[in-house]
């Protein structure tokens, strides 16, 4: 083998989805830029059919050309579990999950999305004049659920009387439906919106049009959301990847599970440079982000009290 480190990854949606898949693509691109000739990657996007991902990963694994095969999506877990057992000499990574199946050649990674969710939620409650906030979620699982739960908890920690509506539209990709879900929130008085997954491009447009605030997660949506965007929780998978590469160089093929956190720098809260907030408010936002980040890292903040398990009551 040569000195080039080769990575192959499958992801469910487009590499430029402003959300989950893009977060991994950006990380790989970043490493590629940094490491130059010593790093190469193959990226198969749009593989929402799990079986297609299985074919791809099997192909990569059996070719023996790749140092690391990534299944970027929790739906790929079963595939990774099976393949890793069959190809013990190849290293696999998958997420978001923390399960390595007890296999020595599997890394798992996930994001503590509730951390950024909490910060976004707290800011949302702070900036909402109506005390009415809308959340458009995909399906109630994975990092989307963690983000939403953290968001609700954060909002209620600032304003216990706030109305935080959560609507899981049962789809990651249905933009029209997500849009109307957002419209429904606005119609019911929400002046802050957030959401997760690639269909949020719809809600973002709704936020912009109705001049209400938008909080994002997974990737930066600052450009798209323009003046309505406030803060974004950005996943920095390069943090995990660096660790994995280091392990591999030491000959460790897996067995480790990683979590992106504010603490390890895998989660970043980006404050939009386009946000239309006035300077004092912006300063307030910056300060809040700083204190909350510190608090969360220090473990002083209870992110997910049990009470947020249930959907909060309507504002009655």
């Amino acid at each position: 083998q040569d000195d080039v480190f080769r990575v192959a990854a499958v992801a469910p949606s487009a590499a430029a989805d402003l959300a989950f898949s893009q977060s991994m693509f950006d990380a790989l691109t970043l490493l590629d830029e940094e490491l130059g000739d010593a790093f190469e990657f193959t990226f198969q996007e749009g593989t929402f059919i799990v079986d297609d991902a299985a074919v791809a990963m099997r192909d990569w694994a059996s070719s023996g050309e790749y140092d690391l095969v990534i299944g970027h999506g929790s739906q790929y877990g079963a595939v990774v579990e099976e393949l890793a057992a069959e190809f013990p000499e190849v290293s696999f990574a998958w997420g978001t999950d923390n399960n390595t199946f007890g296999l020595p050649n599997v890394f798992a990674y996930t994001a503590a999305a509730e951390e950024g969710g909490f910060i976004n939620g707290a800011l949302a409650a702070l900036l909402s004049e109506a005390g009415n906030i809308g959340v458009v979620g995909p399906i109630e699982v994975g990092d989307a659920k963690l983000y939403v739960d953290g968001f609700v908890s954060g909002a209620l920690s600032v304003n216990p009387d706030a109305t935080v509506g959560v609507n899981y539209i049962q789809s990651f990709s249905d933009v029209p439906l997500a849009t109307e879900a957002a419209e429904a929130f606005v119609a019911n008085g929400a002046d802050v919106l957030t959401g997760s997954a690639q269909m949020v491009v719809g809600p973002i447009a709704v936020a912009t049009d109705n001049e209400v605030l938008w909080f994002g997660t997974q990737s930066s949506q600052a450009e798209l959301s323009a003046e309505s965007g406030v803060t974004f929780q950005v996943y920095r998978w390069d943090v995990v990847l660096r660790d994995i590469i280091a392990s591999l160089e030491e000959g460790v093929l897996g067995g480790e599970s990683y979590v992106l956190t504010l603490e390890n720098g895998g989660l970043e809260i980006e404050i939009s440079e386009f946000s239309g907030l006035d300077e004092t408010t912006l300063a307030e936002v910056e300060a809040t982000v700083a204190t909350l980040t510190e608090g969360i890292i220090a473990g002083d903040i209870l992110l997910l009290p049990d009470m947020v398990e249930a959907t909060p009551e309507a504002g009655s």
Binding site: L18, G134, Y168, I169, D174, V175, N188, A205
Partner: protein, 313 residues
């Protein structure tokens, strides 16, 4: 909160307004498809045309900033795709269901490819503004102003197209020819109606309407484009043609019913009622089926639907 207040808080004017918006793309696509089916052509590729219309319309606006140009582009692209599928179905007499699926895949792929190459990442554009119709839009009574008179231009056009379509089908000689060609092309042919020309025309029109349906999403309602933006909406539109029993007004009722239940379930979600989201999401589909099961049976199904015509031999 008593039951009436609860219902009142759910079924608000904004739900109805949202219903009209949601129904708009279905209406465009389904009215166009109604014409095609009435003349005997089934196009299962509506969704593919919608996607191409949505993307090209979006791109035109993105590149030029002109909404009108966006709509025109979508119309032209939709019409061209309609022409293509007409050629395949009418001239080459290919199996219609399958060629439609081919067209769908083509549109799905190409719209995404173009999006990746020309734009890359989701961008937003200035979308069609809501037009407040003077006086009428101020009607407070039952929220009528908000529901009916504060929508964007394409919503108005979509609903206006319903009576026009019904009139054309029922009262003009063109409509008569369409109905005849879909019922008994041999008879129409013997009576000097150019079956192929009629079918080409309805399919091109169907394509244009599907393109417009796509643009109504990307340019008017959402102001963004994303891969597979329609998410299979075109297939529902085809289903609505059956629901409406090949009549524009029936199609509109179907589109409104489906969209209303959808808007309602979103509203229920927004208000945070404790309904499993899976069940509220399936509601529009369940209700559409039930409604049809209890609807009247009289039907004007074009008997020559999907049957290619060949004179005599």
């Amino acid at each position: 909160m008593n039951i009436f207040e609860t219902i009142g808080s759910i079924v608000t004017a904004s739900v109805f307004a949202s219903t009209l918006r949601l129904a708009t793309p279905y209406l465009f696509a389904a009215i166009g498809e109604t014409f095609a089916q009435r003349s005997g052509l089934l196009n299962l590729g509506v969704d593919g045309i919608m996607l191409m219309g949505a993307f090209t319309g979006f791109y035109a606006v993105y590149a030029t900033g002109s909404l009108l140009l966006g709509v025109l582009t979508a119309l032209v692209v939709g019409g061209l795709m309609g022409l293509a599928i007409a050629f395949i179905s009418v001239t080459l007499r290919a199996k219609q269901g399958i060629s439609g699926i081919g067209l769908y895949l083509f549109g799905l792929g190409l719209s995404e490819l173009l999006f990746q190459r020309l734009i890359g990442t989701p961008k937003s554009i200035e979308r069609f503004p809501d037009i407040y119709i003077p006086v009428l839009s101020d009607i407070e009574f039952l929220g009528i102003g908000q529901i009916f008179f504060r929508q964007n231009l394409l919503v108005y056009i979509a609903f206006a197209s319903v009576p026009i379509a019904a009139y054309v089908l029922r009262r003009t000689s063109y409509g008569l020819k369409i109905r005849a060609v879909g019922q008994n092309p041999a008879a129409a042919d013997a009576m000097d109606v150019n079956v192929a020309r009629i079918r080409y025309s309805t399919q091109i029109f169907g394509g244009m309407m599907a393109g417009l349906a796509g643009a109504s999403l990307s340019v008017a309602l959402l102001g963004v484009f994303q891969q597979n933006l329609t998410g299979g909406l075109g297939f529902i539109a085809v289903a609505l043609v059956y629901f409406g029993r090949w009549r524009p007004v029936g199609v509109m009722i179907g589109a409104l019913l489906f969209s209303f239940v959808n808007a309602l379930q979103l509203q229920v979600g927004a208000l945070g009622f404790d309904v499993p989201p899976e069940f509220s999401t399936m509601a529009p589909y369940v209700i559409t089926i039930i409604a049809l099961a209890f609807a009247g049976r009289q039907t004007e199904k074009p008997t020559a639907l999907t049957v290619p015509f060949q004179r005599g031999e």
